[in-house]
Amino acid sequence: MMRFMLLFSRQGKLRLQKWYTATAERDKKKMVRELMQVVLARKPKMSSFLEWRDLKIVYKRYASLYFCCAVEEQDNELITLEVIHRFVELLDKYFGSVCELDIIFNFEKAYFILDEFLIGGEIQDTSKKSVLKAIEQADLLQEEDESPRSVLEEMGLA
């Protein structure tokens, strides 16, 4: 099972973190810092896998973003690499050629997409269509919900 997934930029800014086991905040911060350091130090031609603590790390870089997963001893590295790719495809399809900014400004959407794809560290559905359908349904609901608002009101000035 996947223990956690991190998205971070080349500059070492954490963009998304998803933990599938209960972990104390302090430990999370420490692990993120340590792991970012390890991964960012690696050169392009190196393998996408490494041993770290008792975990297998699988990572891949897409443009300025690193996608990094920690899986357990018996897990399959290559399929994890494709979990990452499928997640990127989902983001891409949803945002329309996704970039780091989309994930920064719509972080909540990124989390929703991830939740539709992975639950409890296991893959829920590998069909791109099923996952996107679930998300788009939600967006439809959202659009029905919302009445237009003035810009001023949005900014809390009204």
Partner: protein, 974 residues
């Protein structure tokens, strides 16, 4: 779609995020965040009820702030409110906030559970999914208690939507992982197995994960899943690449599901039913065949997905370990990958081959790739790949290729990455020992290890080489010659000095016939390294010297000269000083026969598990070891049985452990020990009686009385020696006899005379801190033992040699941990000698002994007495008898600062009397020493002479011993 604010997001949130991104510094960011937090707090606290949208927006902002790494301590209630909103997006944000921020012990959990309950029963699939995701994300015990019964029902209900089934399956999986006791197996389990037949591949995928986890815990209950999984796998593998539509990934049919099914099958042995078994073999063959087909796409995703299935199939083949043809085919396939241009595939092939090497069917096939693997070790640019190559070489090593593999690993060691050196050293040491045909090769290998990577050679490794040399007669001469040559190098590693000192001390005589390595040359060679070495090594060398005296009577004079020098006899280190004193004494008084008995050659060590192996196991976990070695281990511990009886198994290889000591020396020592018990009566009982071999300064008596009870002098690295003791199992007991001059003890720092708190003692391992308080004739002392290492101290015991003993301490002290002992003290009568604190523990296999004096001095029981000038002089005259006064004149050791002096006198315990002495620069003090039986009035006068930098101190008390003692104590302070 616009890049920003997808799905008509919250503009206020987007503005806030831009603001944060525009912040030029961390300070600016924090300022902006604090402003926002204040704003949100006021909104939440305001009178006006917030609408759902605003609530959602603010909760989302809080979430963003939290994810930036800041603490959030409010907003939870608003998030919980969002859960019960009818609007999907509000609910969604509420759940997201809860998933990320709520920990299990939150008092909101019952409110949250309530909201989840409502959503689960809403029959609205999107709401149900949100609720299930939340349970799976939080996974807390409270949630398991609330929903562990309900989720299985949702999972197997006929009318549940597919997407909800998927969520429910994985939700149940999470609950089963976190609280397995709450997820009761039941009627639903059989129905879950049948989900493997479901039409919807998404449901099958989710269900397979769940079944795999459940099957690992209770294989019997899910046995029927095997045939279903094989059938499903077979259908996928034989399908055309487009059959599965959206579940085909880059021309590979359902790779995720295939991997999961193969994983599930690894929970079970090969199917017994021939038909199922045949079908599975067919599947595996098809997967292996497909690897040879030309790729259907050039995309890396295609090859990754295909190979993911292939590697999982190979794992299953290795797991079954029953089909030789499949195993050999798997091996050949991996062999191809070893030279693949994709680094990832080379990495995985090396990793997978490690497990393949342990199968008897494929071990030989793996070995044919040795050149490729060695090449990988030399040429791979990625350290993680090289690491895999080392692992594989280790796994494929056997008697036929051991010399080549060890040689390659040794030469790689010279340039290896620092991060993996220690592991390589351990592996080389294990292989060299395991496959050594002639032990000269073994000795050479270990010495090379020390030469190339001395810093990474742990104690276990050099202990082991000594153990083997001691146990094998045929290699002893060679070992002596080799270490002698190795020591000729101008700079050699300290570990080499240790091995060299030990081996020459035992077997130097075997090469002494050669004039180039005569006794004197050997000694000079060793002694030339002495001054560059650390204390433990020096201690070992001193032992080598005393062994030399026995081996070579002709160098006795030279060695005695060395031992007698001030740098030895007065060495600041207690251990070295004591060894020097005792060895010198031993060499002077003992006859040749006695020397020969005491310094006899080491007896063979009992065979037992290599501690190096144990160390590697600790480093790597048992999974990564050669199974062959693991079996060996089992055998040995069964046959030998020694490991079980030892209180600290595995680490102490040299027989430093108490088991060995008891085994070997107990028969000889027992009678002597009983003698000693008489001598020390009560004291010995304060120790855990493991090795009752302890001799005090009265040893000389025993010595002459009954020589045959003297235990053999043994090698060890540390330990305080009193008289003659076994080298490794030294317990230091300071007897209650007045003459202590011959016992070098760690004295307490003199500042403790005027202070009650501070650090009493410190070495590399242990720190002892003190806090104490005294009142009249009673005192209480808190002793803190701090473990400065990261390793546990075993068999920790501390006792005080005095009238009363201490309660025993906790026998282990964890790395970095502190242990506290409380001592109650009563001053019965006036005294001179401070009680001694003996500490004994086992660290990394070595018994450590520390004895320090406790800073309990007579002046601690001082009660200050205020009195007038007239009163003072009246009493001063009363105490005029010559024996009542003690006076001393001494040179100032510190600068003569009036304030400091005052503080010291008050710290000493006396009342400082102002305006008593006609000369204002003099100090006068008074007080009463309280003991149980009497009270002793004390007066003191200190006259500084700044010009001469001298003091005159005068003490008058009603008892001469008290005057003398106080004068001694106080004069040390200035």
């Amino acid at each position: 779609m616009p890049a920003v604010s997808k799905g008509d997001g919250m503009r206020g949130l987007a503005v806030f995020i831009s603001d944060i991104r525009n912040c030029k510094s961390k300070e600016a960011e924090i300022k902006r965040i604090n402003k926002e937090l204040a704003n949100i707090r006021s909104k939440f606290k305001g009178d006006k009820a917030l609408d759902g949208y605003s609530k959602k927006k603010y909760v989302c902002k809080l979430l963003f702030i939290f994810l930036l790494g800041h603490d959030i301590d409010f907003g939870h209630m608003e998030a919980v409110n969002l859960l019960s909103s009818n609007k999907y997006t509000e609910k969604q944000i509420g759940y997201l906030f809860i998933s990320v921020l709520v920990n299990s012990n939150s008092d909101l959990i019952s409110l949250i559970n309530n909201a989840i309950k409502n959503d689960l029963s809403s029959r609205n699939p999107t709401f149900m999914n949100l609720a299930l995701h939340c349970i799976a994300n939080v996974g807390s015990r409270e949630m398991a208690e609330a929903f562990a019964a309900e989720v299985p029902c949702i999972l197997v209900a006929g009318d549940t939507m597919d997407s909800v089934k998927q969520s429910a399956a994985l939700c149940l999986l999470r609950l089963n992982r976190t609280s397995p006791d709450l997820v009761a197996m039941g009627e639903w389990t059989t129905r879950v197995v049948h989900l493997l037949n479901d039409q919807h591949l998404g449901v099958v995928t989710a269900a397979t994960s769940l079944i795999t986890t459940l099957a690992q815990k209770s294989p019997e209950d899910f046995k029927t899943s095997v045939s279903l999984a094989v059938a499903r796998l077979s259908r996928i593998v034989s399908s055309a690449s487009t059959d599965l539509q959206d579940y085909t990934y880059y021309f590979v049919a359902a790779p995720w599901l295939s991997v999961k099914l193969l994983r599930l099958l690894q929970c079970y042995p090969p199917p017994e039913d021939g038909a199922i078994r045949g079908r599975l073999t067919e599947c595996l063959e098809t997967i292996l065949n497909k690897a040879q087909e030309p790729p259907k796409s050039k995309k890396v995703q295609h090859s990754n997905a295909k190979n993911a299935v292939l590697f999982e199939a190979i794992s299953l083949i290795i797991h079954h370990d029953s089909e030789p043809t499949l195993l050999v085919r798997a091996c050949n396939q991996l062999g191809q990958f070893l030279q693949h241009r994709e680094t990832n595939l080379r990495y995985l092939a090396l990793e997978s081959m490690c497990t393949l090497a342990s199968s008897e069917f494929s071990h030989e096939a793996v070995k044919t790739h040795i050149e490729t693997v060695i090449n990988a070790l030399k040429s791979e640019r990625d350290v993680s790949v090289r690491q895999r190559a080392v692992d594989l070489l280790y796994a494929m090593c056997d008697r036929s290729n051991a010399k080549q593999i060890v040689a390659e690993m040794l030469s790689y060691l010279e340039t290896a990455d620092y991060s993996i050196r220690e592991e390589i050293v351990l592996k080389v040491a294990i292989l060299a020992e395991k496959y050594a045909v002639d032990y000269t090769w073994y000795v050479d290998t270990i010495l090379n290890l020390i030469r190339f990577a001395g810093d990474y050679v742990s104690d276990e490794v050099w202990y082991r080489v000594i153990q083997i040399v001691i146990n094998r007669d045929e290699v002893q001469g060679y070992a002596a010659k080799t270490v002698f040559e190795a020591l000729q190098a101008p700079a050699c590693h300290e570990n080499l000095v240790k091995v060299g000192g030990y081996i020459l001390g035992e077997f130097g005589n075997l090469i002494a016939g050669d004039s180039r390595s005569s006794p004197l040359i050997q000694f000079d060679l060793l002694h030339s390294k002495f001054h560059l070495c650390s204390v433990p090594t020096r201690a070992l060398l001193l032992s080598a010297y005393i062994k030399f005296i026995n081996l070579f009577p002709e160098v006795k004079g030279t060695i005695q000269e060395v031992l007698r020098s001030d740098s030895q006899l007065r060495n600041a280190d207690v251990e070295l000083q004591q060894r020097a004193v005792e060895y010198l004494r031993l060499s002077c008084i003992a006859s040749t026969d006695i020397l020969a008995t005491v310094l006899e050659e080491m007896p063979p060590f009992p065979e037992r598990e290599s501690s190096i192996l144990a160390k590697l196991k600790r480093k790597k976990g048992p999974g990564n070891l050669h199974p062959d070695l693991d079996e060996n281990r089992k055998e040995r511990s069964v046959n030998g049985g020694t490991v079980a009886t030892s209180p600290t198994p595995s680490t102490d290889l040299l027989g430093l452990g108490s088991t060995i000591a008891t085994q070997n020396s107990a028969p000889r020592a027992s009678k002597g020990a009983s003698l000693l018990v008489d001598v020390f009566s009560g004291n010995i009982a304060a120790f855990p009686v493991e090795t009752p071999v302890s001799v005090g300064p009265v040893a000389d008596e025993n010595f002459s009385r009954d020589i045959s009870y003297i235990p053999t002098v043994r090698w060890g690295t540390l330990g305080i020696l009193v008289g003659i003791q076994s080298w490794e199992s030294i317990q230091y007991i300071k007897p209650k006899i007045p003459d202590m001059r011959c016992l070098p003890l760690a004295p307490f720092p003199s500042r403790f005379v005027c202070k009650n708190n501070g650090v009493l003692y410190e070495n590399q391992l242990l720190q002892i801190g003190l806090k104490s308080e005294f009142r009249q004739n009673l005192g209480r002392m808190y002793v803190f033992f701090g473990n400065k290492t990261s390793t546990q101290f075993m068999n920790f015991a501390a006792s005080v040699v005095c009238q009363d003993t201490l309660q025993p301490a906790d026998p282990t002290v964890d790395g970095g941990a502190q242990l506290q002992q409380i001592l109650n003290i009563e001053c019965v009568s006036d005294f001179v000698d401070a009680p001694v604190l003996n500490i004994q523990f086992r660290y990394g296999g070595t018994l450590q002994n520390i004895a320090v004096k406790l800073p309990i001095t007579l002046n601690k029981f001082f009660q200050p007495t205020e009195m007038t000038s007239q009163n003072f002089f009246q009493r001063w005259k009363q105490l005029g008898a010559p024996q009542q006064e003690v006076q001393t004149i001494f040179k100032a050791r510190h600068s003569m600062d009036t304030e400091v002096t005052k503080a010291k006198i008050m710290g000493f315990g006396a009342a400082l009397l102002d305006g008593v002495d006609p000369n204002p620069s003099n100090f006068v003090g008074a007080g009463v020493i309280h003991t149980k039986t009497t009270q002793v009035g004390c007066l003191l006068r200190l006259e500084p002479n700044t010009q001469a930098q001298m003091y005159r101190l005068t003490l008058r008390t009603s008892r001469d011993t008290v005057s003398q003692r106080l004068c001694d104590l106080l004069s040390e302070q200035f």
